[in-house]
Symmetry: C2
Subunit: 179 residues, 2 copies
Amino acid sequence: MTEERSKRHGLVIVNTGQGKGKTTAALGLMTRAWGRGWNMCVLQFIKASTGNYGENRAAKKMGIELTPLGDGFTWLSKDIEKDKALARECWELCKEKIASDEYDLVIMDELTYPLVYGWLPIAEVIETLKNRPAGLHVVITGRDAPQELIDFADLVTEMREIKHPFRTEGLRAQPGIEF
Amino acid sequence: MTEERSKRHGLVIVNTGQGKGKTTAALGLMTRAWGRGWNMCVLQFIKASTGNYGENRAAKKMGIELTPLGDGFTWLSKDIEKDKALARECWELCKEKIASDEYDLVIMDELTYPLVYGWLPIAEVIETLKNRPAGLHVVITGRDAPQELIDFADLVTEMREIKHPFRTEGLRAQPGIEF
């Protein structure tokens, strides 16, 4: 697997924009890669570690390492220093996973938020991506991806909301679809 | 499950646009829903029935009914009558699956193409969606979703290409990422 990996051109893929489907498409890549027997890990920056969503349940059944790193809604608490420290802690784990050379695919879900808030320096993230093991694909999701990240990435897609049932029909998020 | 289903507000979800992630996000929903133990089927209009892509392999391992209905590239053959007949055949199977009331989620991957080509009447598709069992979520993917479909759908996302490695770096599609 490592030999195959080193021959591959690893991509940095960014799913951004205000619409749905950023995390969902990352989960789709996860599924596709899992179908091919790849090693991968999914690190979720915002999702609470207590979450038991569709993706957590699926990853468990599939034997995929999916780690919710955030603290859910308290992530956006009034205690900025705590949030910053948590973001730093999460990022250190990401760096470790990326450098380990154990994975074919590393997904960092909602990484853009700590970048946008200025809690993590974008230069450090780019540097880590630049120095990643050959052949490692990385997927980053979240709104408002910084321009430096877009410039560095290989594949960037913007998910645009054309129509959303929460707005048009007042419907709430539904299990199995939204989480 | 049927009781739970009938209480739910089923959504019609459309992933369209020129960018990546339309099918991939549908596979993400599939994974999430599978995590919750839903019954689902994936009907692929364009993918060749001989395909053994990441998603085919994953669906097989997950026990998900994923049916490639198309005939691959010969789908866009010079024999329009053959293509039309194949599109009709595929659609009849979709109608059957939708009406069966056996599923929580039906994904019709790349359905927009036969619609755009005029091989299937959009009115018939809308009618089928309108009369679907209560609580059934339907996902439709493909470029150039017709306006009537967008008008009828609950959730519509446009995947926009911001940057693509085939263009910027001349890279080819890669297994595990693109298919």
